[in-house]
Amino acid sequence: MKDFNYHSAKDSKEASKLASSSSAFLAGGMTTIPSMKLGLATYKDLIDIKNIKKLSGIKVSGKSVTIGAATKHVEVSNSKDVKKAIPSLSSLAEGIGDPQVRNRGTIGGSIANNDPSADYPSACIALNAIIHTNERKIEANKFFKGMFETALKKGELIEAIEFQIPEKSSYQKHPNPASRYAIVGVYVAKHKGDVNVAVTGAKSCVYNDKEMSKALSGNFSSSSIDGMDLDSSEMNSDMHASADFRASLVVTQAKKAVDAC
């Protein structure tokens, strides 16, 4: 791994002041460090944001659950408040990677990285999340721009993610047995008025499946999406699953999610 300068920021202000075109923020490091070790990314400066107290913690209000960006997966999965307010979010966190990854990896890091197979982006889309940064608030459906791409500007730091509490929800993942990343993961959330069906792993970026959303908003039953033939032309195809298999898995996982609600 090429050398860099390590900085530990005291607050968001200091972190964004240290940021440059050749820096990265370091939270859990579960993707940043392996990417740097493999030579896929090099930075002059790594700005550690783990020690910024304001960025960790979970707050539940009547309508929303707000999770600090540097909150670890294990904290989300163990939180009694999250289990009570949005149980599916707690079980999503429990299914990420392995215990050691969950002891280090953070929600903000996952979202900022926007891996096409990551779990948390689907929660953001399904639960109408608002991403709070040190500069502004961004709606989840405007945040995830493409493969590993987000609306974040250079030096912009995620501070917290605010999830809307749904009436019912479930996240169903078909994991890659080695990495535990989603080959396909579907997060179904029924809100007052409409249903979101957020899909991860299937395409280059997380998305809300409009066709299934519409069908489920009309009739919230797995029978209303049974046998749906999704367009697989933009779906990923690799050694783990073909595009057609992924299209079929999206429907299967969505049905499982609706039945589990």
């Binding site: 791994m1 490091g29 392995d98 050691q100 990854v101 002891n103």
Partner: protein, 153 residues
């Protein structure tokens, strides 16, 4: 370069190290604690698992700088007065190892499990050891060893 201060296996250590020093490198090459193994070096195999402030992590995927000030326990820190830790004893007794390369990580990870779940089921043990890969044993005896240790810890 930065100054790294840690408490490793109850002993205070302070050393200068380049900022890109991984915790695994710091333990093995700066402190000569070679019981922590490097297997895949891509945070998948778990041979490098150590405890930092009581929680297990993969030391090949943490910077020494970003755990600065922490308490670290490695496999070398488990014995007391020459007596093996109950988890080590159980691995030995039930043949929870063959070549032994993954064993330090397995043991450290399994101890973290028992700290959090005193009586884990077979499924919970297998689930917890998701991040520790062994290519010899087939895991049966590892699971048996963790269950045995749970009765002793």
């Amino acid at each position: 370069m930065g100054r790294i201060s840690l408490e490793v296996n109850g002993r205070k250590v302070e050393k200068e190290a380049p900022d890109n020093t991984l915790l695994s490198t710091f333990l093995r090459e700066h402190l000569q604690l070679t019981g922590t193994h490097i297997g895949c070096d891509t945070s998948q195999c778990g041979a490098c698992v150590v405890h930092v402030d009581g929680n297990s992590l993969k030391s090949c995927t943490a910077l020494a700088a970003d755990v600065n000030g922490s308490k670290v326990t490695t496999i070398e820190g488990l014995e007391t007065n020459g007596k093996m830790h109950p988890m080590q004893e159980a691995f030995k007794k039930l043949h929870g190892l063959q070549c032994g390369f993954c064993t330090p990580g397995m043991v450290m990870s399994a101890i973290d499990l028992l700290q959090k779940n005193k009586k884990p089921s077979d499924v919970e043990i297998r689930d917890w050891l998701e991040g520790n890969i062994c290519r010899c044993t087939g895991y049966q005896n590892i699971v048996a060893a963790v269950k045995e240790a749970a009765t002793k810890m």
